[in-house]
Symmetry: C2
Subunit: 201 residues, 2 copies
């Protein structure tokens, strides 16, 4: 059955991105370590990386797609080059309308200006029987968690106290989760939880 | 070699206690689940519980010893009854001087009014070759983390988003940790980290 998943890399103190995000540092200063496991230990973390890319469609916040506040010029086509790693429809939350972007390898970026429910509905329709993944960043994940829309939360906890940045779980009220499994590799510990439907808002 | 350890139970969103702490709810409202694993699954979590009680001396904040702001009357002898589970010297950080309390089973409570360094020095002297444990709560742990005084941090992560309370890591600047191990039981996931000395303030 199709479900809504969310993978997010966080520091031990719960930050999904560092402070002072910019074009040069799209995930903030000093936090490249948050994502190093994906690139430097792809084999060791293959199962988790495969789960991330298995979704049939993705939803992401505007900060994950580009710098600034979403007023990208037409030349901006995301952080990932011509062939982004999604290979599926991606719905980007923004306040600025834009025509869809068809990329190489099956990724299309569709810009959604009418809110998180609309983006999730469009992604669900596009995904069919496959899962829909909330791709981040933290503030987008927080909105979907608060709305009770996520079925499975997969935290990739990096051994780092960051002290500042964009905090996962900000604005999310109490939810009792069901632990599914845990696995540690050298660079990251994977924690997987089910979010019970009954505890949702 | 003697080291400074810290065990603390936290929610997934990093709270070591809930909101609205009181005499009736010493760890805050609705968070009995944070500590349930210690009582309802003591056998399954025996290794971690033994590690907690192996220390030669303990340091705790005033909120962990009693309600209010430390102005306890002489009848207040802690939350634990006549035979507290520490069975060792415990140094309580407070602003109010008080004579030491000798309890049953080897626990003594000594009240320290001249700061966290003094409390740790006294605990280290009392522990001898054994470890010193920072027993909590979160704000006391944060002070010792920020001071670079903790060698091993043991997080007991309960599958619960709490949304409010006393936040672990508040006021702690960036520290890169070394993961030691991880173990999941039904009620809690244990994450153990070394805090490298070179990264301390």
């Amino acid at each position: 059955m199709s479900q809504v998943t969310c993978d997010i890399a966080v520091s031990i103190d719960g930050f999904g991105a560092g402070p002072n995000q910019s074009l040069e540092n799209p995930i903030g200063e000093g936090v490249e370590k948050l994502h190093r496991w994906m690139f430097e230990a792809a084999e060791e973390n293959a199962a988790e990386l495969e789960a991330i890319t298995a979704a049939g469609a993705y939803v992401m916040g505007r900060n994950m797609f580009g710098p600034g506040r979403g007023e990208w010029d037409e030349a901006w086509r995301g952080w990932w080059g011509d062939d982004p790693p999604y290979h599926a429809p991606v719905f980007v939350l923004t306040h600025h309308a834009r025509a869809p972007l068809e990329m190489q390898g099956g990724t299309t970026f569709t810009f959604v200006t009418d809110g998180i429910e609309s983006a999730l509905a469009q992604a669900s329709a596009a995904a069919g029987d496959r899962d829909v993944a909330i791709a981040g960043g933290a503030s987008t994940v927080n909105q979907y968690l608060a709305a009770g829309a996520i079925d499975e939360l997969r935290l990739h906890v990096v051994p780092l106290i960051l002290g500042a940045g964009e905090r996962l779980f900000d604005g999310v009220s109490r939810i009792d989760l069901e632990p599914l499994d845990v696995r540690r590799t050298d660079l990251v510990t994977h924690l997987r939880y089910r979010v019970p439907a009954g505890d949702r808002a």
